[in-house]
């Protein structure tokens, strides 16, 4: 067995163990399986939500952006800094509603607030469609990295099967608590490994971090360090694109369904708020990840697929096999950390928001848990199929879905803060937003200004939401009572 592979195996073993242990006690009820019995502390929340920072998209895509687009990669840092902040107010409100009315997903809240099953299913389907390509990317990343670490002995389809077999197993077995405890371990593993490499590579290649940046600045690539960096094709990026990409990502960030489910799992308001407060400290770990990408700029000049720059360096930089193994384990952690949360969320949303409203009679606890597990398995299988067998461009799909997910933001704000909003208004807003987003995604040349297509979607969304809501009959006062707390939180 290649030495590189040993850290990966050790890591996979620990992940499996940690994922199984909590399942022995808490997964026996729906509340336990879906929301960990609503007992998550700040530390668990911090690491579970940190998954968004350290997905394999960030671990492979982050260095890829820094390598090919320079300062444009700072956008990843910025949106993560601000994206969690709306949760300081939305999170506690959602949690209290969940406790009072027995909700676990954001679509349940939206559906109840607007008294509309159609709206609930639409929001759920939108999140579902966005989650699957997200998961597929994570699985692809894992297969890729294990193939590198095993020096090709483990083809991509087998590596992905091994790692995600383990993830699927503990998600099925332990649910929310399995996801939480493994993510603490994975989060710590990634942070440590990220810092080690972010400092070691510049030191090895250039003698230091500043020396590295100075060398890049003095080279023909120097212009990439001036914000807002470069576009994918290497031309200077414009401020419109950079700024609007940040705005749409900030708004889209807190709409991901797995985030909302985490706030339902929190044990009290304080844990949610403290988690939001501490979140920027997680984001700072993105800096060494970007530095890894920058360290490759002068060293490896002609890597075509920028997202593969990290594995490429692992193969060609003449590093010790132990270091290569360590970096591979870190990337594994990044992927699985996000993948498990997505699988768990997709299964829950699918059953509670899509199946349950159409189920002829009340679903028993037992049946609901069984169905969620079946769906987790189906989602994993679908994503796995796309990851190893299909050649649809996923990055394009994912970028499209971000603009789509952000369209939920006005609906969420209206849910909690605008009593006059109606189901028809919210529905019209969502559909208009998604439609406009899709049109400009497919035909970028039609945009009046080079802004992110999601911004146009949002404009149409808010316009329809407000217009149609004022046009239609308000929601019954009695229902709104639950939502009429004073203040923002």
């Amino acid at each position: 067995m290649p030495i590189e592979f040993i850290p990966c195996l050790v890591y996979l073993g620990i992940a499996l163990l940690l994922g199984m242990v909590p399942g022995l006690s808490v997964a026996k009820s729906v509340s336990g399986y879906v929301a960990g019995g609503r007992t998550l502390s700040t530390v668990l929340l911090y690491f579970v939500l940190g998954a968004a920072v350290f997905s394999s998209f960030a671990f492979l895509g982050g260095p890829g952006w820094a390598y090919s687009r320079g300062a444009a990669a700072f956008y990843i840092l910025v949106y993560g800094m601000f994206g969690m902040i709306p949760f300081y107010f939305l999170g506690p409100r959602a949690r209290r509603l969940g406790v009072r009315l027995g909700f676990f997903t954001q679509a349940e809240i939206v559906g109840h607030r607007f008294d509309s099953r159609t709206l609930q299913v639409t929001v759920a389907l939108l999140s579902f469609v966005a989650l699957v390509p997200y998961l597929t990317l994570q699985i692809k990343g894992v297969g890729f990295i294990l193939a590198v670490a095993s020096r090709g002995a483990l083809p991509e389809w087998q590596g992905a099967l091994l790692a995600y077999g383990i993830v699927t197993f503990y998600v099925l077995y332990s649910g929310m608590m399995g996801v939480s405890w493994t993510s603490v371990f994975m989060g710590l593993a990634m942070m440590t490994i990220g810092w080690i490499f972010g400092l070691y590579l510049p030191w090895k290649f250039y003698g230091g971090v500043q020396a590295m940046f100075q060398a890049i600045a003095a080279s023909p690539h120097g212009v990439m360090l001036v914000p807002p960096g470069l576009t994918g094709s290497g031309a200077p990026w414009d401020w419109w694109g950079y700024s609007s990409a940040i705005l749409i990502s900030v708004l889209g960030f807190c709409c991901w369904p797995h985030f909302f489910m985490r706030s339902m799992a929190a044990k009290d308001d304080r844990s949610i708020k403290l988690m939001v407060v501490l979140y920027p400290t997680m984001q700072i770990f993105m800096v060494p990840i970007l530095i890894i990408g920058f360290s490759a700029v002068l060293r490896f000049a002609d890597v075509k697929e920028a997202d593969t720059i990290l594995p490429f360096m692992l193969q060609h930089a003449g590093l010790s096999p132990w270091l290569v193994g360590l970096a591979s384990a870190g990337t594994l952690a990044a992927s699985m950390h996000t993948g498990d949360a997505i699988m768990h969320a997709a299964g829950t949303v699918g059953v509670r928001d899509v199946l349950m409203p159409f189920w002829p009679r009340p679903m028993s606890d037992r049946l609901e848990r069984a169905l969620i597990r079946v769906l987790v398995l189906l989602v994993a299988a679908t994503a796995y199929y796309f990851a190893v067998a299909s050649h649809i461009s996923l990055v394009a799909l994912l970028l499209g879905s971000y603009g789509g997910v952000a369209q939920i933001f006005p609906t969420l704000i209206a849910t909690f803060y605008w009593k006059r909003a109606t189901a028809a208004g919210a529905m019209a807003g969502l559909l208009a937003g998604i439609a406009v987003n899709m049109v400009f995604l497919l035909e970028p040349a039609w945009r009046p200004l080079p802004l992110h297509e999601g911004i146009y979607g949002l404009a149409a969304n808010v316009l329809m939401l407000v217009g149609v809501s004022l046009w239609t009959k308000p929601v019954a006062q009695a229902r709104l009572q639950e939502y009429s707390e004073p203040g923002w939180d």
Partner: protein, 82 residues
Amino acid sequence: MKRTGGVPRRHKLFLGLVLLLLGLCIWPGYLPAARIEPYLFGLPFGLAWIVLCLLAVFAVLLLTFRADMRAAGKGKDGSHAD
């Protein structure tokens, strides 16, 4: 815990500061910092600027959180339902 007024003033201030800091990281507030030199903490100025903004966001969040906890009473967090 029941609040008498609507949104507390510290939350309006908080939102204002956060939007200001966001403005410093995108157009137009980021323009003056969009350069390589001088280097700070070994990083080009544009990146160091963002890191400084990140620390400022953290500080603003921390102060608001402390004020919130104080307002909600000792150790309690203003949760209504449990």
